[in-house]
Point group: C2
Chain length 410, copies 2
């Protein structure tokens, strides 16, 4: 018998009705003769509600306690899904991350999985039970509850699939696959039928919210095929594996964007490269991600990071002012990041120029950085984000053809 891991997130677990629907999807797979492990997220806006409570009692809630608080969201869903499955006549058992044998490091709020003991789950699968596991969470060596940070449930699913030698890892969500851009905002975004792990990784790492990079890494490392699909329809979804049907001729896969960015610009350094690597290593210790914009002519170094991490980052930089050798800094809030993603953009040098041209033609103010071999990123004003993404989407020939669009609407 094969093990199939199914992950349910987003609106697929929003209400009792959707939990029953989720149970039906699990039963379909079980009735095909497979062993099923279901990984679930918190219901609807539970996480937001809990975060509001935390902010009501504390100005800066400790991360260990936030994990203790937020992990209850997934726990509620596991119990409800197990009940719904039992109601349909299946045998089922729910597990917290810790009960499922998921051991993490102690970086509360953004923990990484260290090891998984597959025995607790395997033991239940052997007796024919469907195992429901709380996504997004694990347990530290000290026995505290930890959470895996954003997209953590995907990571749980992929890591379990790898550990259990699953045949497939299905990611059920509120969209029916991976698109060339977010179809909620970019009307001409097209569904991608198959993608390589690397392409998916590039999209995810630059902000495509549909999957978390860590989950794709786990799946790639152990060669577990992933399918991103809708929990509402029976559409085929996007298949992710080592090879894809895409032509390699045209390098651009999609356009991703992220809001709530802040810019910090430092100036007066003598050696920008040295300062950059010092900053990179200190931010990494705090799990803060940033993009760098470097304009060497002016001895200026610009960081683009999430608004929520501005305060902590500035504190860190000011503590290290001597070492980093900068004179002054400026910040700018309410920015957004728009990125052109492709397998090997660096070998196609025209892409940066083409992106700049498209944005200029649309009268969008931007600064542009080629931050990696697989992306060209522009920082734009928050209000320009969606239009910038649309312009780039069209400019790189990603728009869904009119004919297909009409068909899709019907």
């Amino acid at each position: 018998m094969s093990v199939i891991v199914q992950k349910f997130g987003g609106t697929s677990v929003g209400s009792p009705a959707s939990i029953k629907r989720m149970a039906s999807r699990v039963m379909e797979e079980k009735n095909r003769g497979n062993d099923v492990v279901a990984v679930v997220s918190a219901m609807g806006d539970t996480t937001d509600t809990l975060t509001t409570l935390a902010n009501d009692v504390s100005s800066q809630p400790a991360k260990r306690e936030m994990d203790m608080l937020l992990s209850t969201g997934e726990q509620v869903t596991t119990a409800l899904l197990a009940m719904a499955l039992q109601e349909k006549g299946a045998e089922s058992i729910s597990f917290t991350g810790g009960q499922a044998g998921i051991l993490t490091d102690s970086v509360h709020g953004n923990a990484k999985i260290r090891t998984i003991n597959p025995e607790p789950i395997m033991k239940e699968l052997r007796t024919g039970k469907i195992v429901v596991v709380a996504g997004f969470q694990g347990i530290t060596e000290e026995g505290s509850i930890s959470t895996l940070g954003r997209g953590g449930s995907d990571t749980t699913a992929a890591a379990l699939a790898a550990k259990l030698g699953a045949e497939r890892c299905d990611i059920f969500t509120d969209v029916d696959g991976v698109y060339t851009s977010d179809p909620g905002y970019i009307k001409k975004a097209a569904k991608i039928s198959s993608l390589t792990y690397d392409d998916m990784l590039n999209l995810a790492a630059r902000g495509a919210g549909v999957l978390h990079p860590r989950s794709v890494k786990h799946a790639k490392k152990y060669g577990i095929p992933m399918v991103v699909r809708s929990s509402l329809t029976k559409e085929k979804g996007t298949f992710i594996n080592f090879s894809s049907k895409r032509s390699d001729r045209y390098p651009v896969i999609g356009i991703v964007f992220q809001q709530d960015r802040t810019r910090i610009s430092l100036c007066g350094m003598t050696d920008c490269e040295k300062t950059k690597s010092a900053i990179t290593s200190v931010l990494q210790t705090r799990n803060i991600e940033c993009d760098f914009f470097k304009e060497q002519s002016r001895n200026e170094l610009t960081l683009l990071l999430h608004q929520n991490e501005l305060k902590e980052s500035l504190e860190l930089l000011l503590e290290m002012k001597e070492q980093l050798k900068f004179d002054q800094f400026t910040t700018q809030e309410d920015l957004a990041k728009v990125a052109v993603i492709g397998s090997n953009i660096r070998t196609h040098p025209v892409i940066q120029g083409k992106a700049a041209k498209a944005l200029t033609a649309g009268r969008i103010e931007f600064s542009l950085v080629e931050d990696s071999p697989v992306s060209v990123t522009a920082a734009v004003k928050h209000g320009d984000m969606h239009r910038a993404a649309e312009l780039l989407h069209t400019s790189f020939g990603l728009d869904i053809p009119e004919m297909r669009k009409v068909a899709a609407v019907r």
Copy 2:
């Protein structure tokens, strides 16, 4: 340094504001130089909300999964209280029941504490931390989450107090002490300043919701003084210990009542006593509590039990029909139980007669049973419950004197 265990339940944990207030009460005790362990219940109507969700996805949710679900309620409160304490400058850590070392049997939904490993809590107390523990829950030997059933948070508090050798166990609730009857319904109910464990046990075992009998048993066994007090006021509360200031001359302590009772009457047995003990032992295996009314002249045996347990109990009785040797049964729903509680009622035979006289004078239909040495219980119609309790309260001289009542109102 002494350890003080403080338990917060009911409306004392209803909102972020009340959690902050609770944090202040904990800090007061900590600032007196004591080590504090706070045991908390779920916030407000969390348990009801979660139960509704369960009933939305399942007609008969498995008890293990209900425990998985409901235990999140207390876990949320622990995290929030720990955050609120940290906000006030204290060091604090939250624990689930399992993390606090509370091992229970596997009777999900009504588990009993088997052992407590005090080390996890002691380790944190030694570093000066305030430890916040989720009440009502523990972990089974198999590692599943269990809940202790009704009043479980009181039991957690008393059991921890016993295990940690606490100097005192404070039970903060929405009333300012133990009353001669429920002051929410019986206007002339009087606060009792001190009670013996046995008196408290008798009140609690017969339905005084303010404390659960198990918690009082734990406190008595290890001689831990308990104080029932309000989380809203600084009133003195009710002190519970081996001796009390009450005069032993007059045996009646209070009047308790419970609604949602159902009667099952069996008839046609040859040996009522034998049938009774057979029923008692089978109901005990399912943790179903009941009172017996026996009218030997008619070879009839009447059980009074909670409405929710009618179905399960009837099924059990019918399975055992041969063995129990009854011919027929009748049931009656929408009943209530009103009981006169006293230390040693059996040695005061007039009490049963006096109770009957008071109810008859009030034209209340009832059946009466002297079911123990410490209580006289009447089954009445649901709608008569409060009036029956008031009549008995007055009749046994428990009403608060008019003068004191006026003072209390002011």
